[in-house]
Amino acid sequence: MTHIEDTFERLEHQTSEGAQELKPHHEIVVAGGPWPELEGEGQTMIINMGPSHPSTHGVLRIMMELDGETVVRAKPIIGYLHTGMEKTGEELTYVQGGTNVTRMDYLSPLSNELVFATAVEQLLDLEIPERAVWMRMMLAELNRISSHLLFQATNGMDIGAVSMMIFGWREREEVLRVLEMITGLRMNHNFIRVGGLAADLPDGWQDAILEVCDIVEAGVADYDTILSENPIWQERLMGVGVLTTQQCLDLSITGPLLRSTGYPWDLRKAQPYLAYDQVEFDVIYTDNGDCYDRYRIRLYEILESVRIVRQCVARMPGGDYRVQDKKVTPPPRARIDESMEALIHHFKLFTEGFRVPAGETYASIESPRGEIGCYVVSDGTGKPVRMHVRGPSFYNLQAMSPMMENRLVADAVAIISTVDPIMGEVDR
């Protein structure tokens, strides 16, 4: 029996790296219960789902105590993608800041840029031009479409509908192609800047965007046909991972998770920013709070976003797309050769950036995943003293423990999938 000795030897050499204590359930959740009592010790098995697991959406690690296939308790463990972006934000000027925040929620980078730019503009007390407002809104909605399409794809894959993965990806790719045409990059665009946008819309943008709107609508109809009515799909998602409004409010959960519990809280309507009060759209909400509702909400939100995008295309105003403030916006390229003052502004902006009056502010918008907020503290220099991003995924992640209790492993997968966490945003 040599290999048993080997096993002990191996255990001796094991490190405690990554070891986590699975605390009794009442210590880790604030809502839910009452909790079942376990019958005797040693009846359960502790299993780690992740950080490297096909359905943990990156590097989420969930520590589960299993009784057979039933999850007795679960604890999400984060930190595997911690890159110190908030700290990096303190080292970058406000001009460079966009490149940093855009990488947090890598599936809706434009929301991140938008919230950062909005926060800094609040400190600067800037009024951005009309065209920039509408462009930002259109881009943010296109981004919401691409993010929700990716959700449809990964959710389908997690539930085992393999074709759905490709279908979702297919339409998302079309949206990304439009974003690529506008911003030059498929993701991490760094396009929404403080004071406006990096560039105007490219030639032929209307046709491209309207075409992609049609493609997305056709795609959504396909998903609806292939999944919504499918009995297996319904069985897998209905009544799974139920949340109540109270639980959501207790845990600061926002976005589709909150709306699925019958609470129509959408910052676009609740606290209109940009020009959301001038466009027509509906806030989608449902009452059951289960995985199926979260799937449906995201599906129909795609259509609402398409609606907004179409209105943006129709009503896009002309004019400047960046605030005409020499201290914030670089001069036109032609002016650099003509004017010494313009050249100096150009150099100053691209080396030390612009100074932001001392103070602190918090701005929040509705990202595809919920309320994303940016808290910026300035001491009057060109770099923030503190830049904190309230990532909705981080808060939504906390719903996992109560949702997974007493469910099967397969349900746990559906729950992770419909919470739709982006680990880049969780760990920042």
Binding site: S163, W233, R236, L408
Partner: protein
């Protein structure tokens, strides 16, 4: 032994000389090769069709139209490092893939691929062995195949494979029941266990012989067979045993290299075998119209056409499995058990009752116009009673809470 094997095959009825032995060895090798090539082709076919259904191109680089993709993958896996977890039970860990592979190969032996042909003056069937208990042999082999999967998960000494193997044992055992009952549903009508005899009962004599293919008189058994066979072979949407999104790889999580490839080989072989058995039992096996403009004893008609019809029917069924794979999400574990125990087995029993009554009635000369409606009504009544006696889903959930 001789009597057991000699049931149908005229080759073994005469004296056994060297030629006969050589023919048997030749057939073994040929069918072995057929199965390997079929798996290779099926994997390619599956990937191409599923790519078509997802607007993709699919494999297109290795060989013409990517035909050699499976071979390339096999070669790659063959030369890969094979790791064994520290906690594994090494002997069982090494053995498990081969159990799967062997049973998969053996099960195919009873499938009648073609008609009766003459090789070197000996008449024989294009079929490896026509055992009188052919169908039982199939059930035996598919039951044994479970050990490969179960032991693999158990011996890996790791948690996800363990969960996979527990799932495997439960799933395969429950669907074995529905699978067996579905076969009984058609055996009642065939009254033999020999696959050759079953195929011959459905032989082609004209377009009316379509009505004798058991898919029509035993349609319910066919549906149950298809569903439970897909579940038996761990094919989507019943691939819970290796559900990637839940259990990483299930029972083969810890397997690498060629041993991993063997599991896949065995799985696809099982799928092909199950489809081939479905063709034999329900779709007339190799029977089909031969080319009328050639004489009946022309080699094209005796050799080629039966094989052509067999392969064509097999492909149609395999296309169906790919289509299912592309279109349906995966079931959850309790739903799988629900479907198996509460629906399939129940339906199969009722089907056996109905068809049994009708057959007895026909033999006894009862008035069929009375017997058929009576049994159907009786069956529906029993089904209703059964379903009423089951706890409602909501009550069930209440009980859990």
């Amino acid at each position: 032994m001789n009597r057991l094997l000699a049931a149908g095959d005229p080759l073994l009825n005469g004296p056994i000389d060297l030629t006969v032995v050589l023919i048997v060895i030749g057939k073994t090798v040929a069918i072995f090769a057929f199965l390997l090539v079929a798996v290779m082709f099926y994997v390619w076919f599956m990937r191409k069709v599923i790519a078509d259904m997802q607007n993709r191109v699919g494999p297109d680089t290795a060989g013409p139209w990517g035909l050699l993709q499976t071979l390339a993958d096999g070669i790659k896996l063959f030369f890969k490092e094979q790791s064994v977890p520290d906690t594994a039970d090494r002997r069982v860990f090494f053995l498990a893939p081969y159990i799967s592979l062997m049973t998969a190969f053996l099960a195919f032996a009873i499938v009648p691929i073609g008609g009766k042909v003459s090789i070197a003056g000996h008449w024989t069937y294009i079929q490896l062995a026509d055992i009188p208990i052919g169908i039982l042999f199939l059930l035996m082999m598919s039951g044994l195949g479970l050990y490969g999967v179960m032991l693999a998960g158990w011996a890996s000494g790791s948690k996800y494979p363990l969960l996979g193997s527990v799932r495997a044992s439960a799933q395969l055992l429950s669907y074995e029941a529905a699978f067996g009952l579905a076969i009984v549903g058609v055996l009642l009508q065939t009254r033999t266990l020999s696959t050759r005899a079953i195929a011959e009962q459905q032989s082609w004599t004209g377009i009316t012989s379509l009505g004798r293919w058991y898919v029509i008189p035993a349609f319910i058994a066919f549906v149950i067979y298809i569903i439970s066979a897909v579940a038996e072979t761990n094919h989507p949407p019943f691939d819970l045993v290796e559900a990637e999104q839940e259990l990483v790889g299930g029972f083969h999580t810890e397997y690498t290299g060629i041993r991993f490839a063997i599991f896949f080989l065995a799985e696809f072989m099982n799928l092909i075998t199950m489809s081939a058995i479905a063709v034999t039992l329900f779709l007339g096996g190799p029977s089909g119209p031969s080319l009328g403009f050639l004489p009946a004893d022309n080699p094209v008609n005796t050799w080629l056409m039966p094989i052509f019809w067999f392969v064509a029917k097999l492909l149609a069924l395999l296309f169906g499995t790919v289509w299912i794979r592309a279109s349906l999400p995966r079931l959850r574990y309790d739903q799988l058990m629900d479907l198996g125990w509460k629906w399939l087995i129940e339906l199969a029993f009722l089907w056996i009752m109905v068809s049994g009554t009708i057959i007895v009635g026909r033999d006894q000369g009862w008035n069929l116009f009375l017997v058929v409606p009576a049994t159907v009504v009786g069956a529906i009544a029993v089904l209703g009673l059964l379903r009423l006696s089951m706890p409602k889903r909501s009550e069930f959930l209440e009980e859990i809470r």
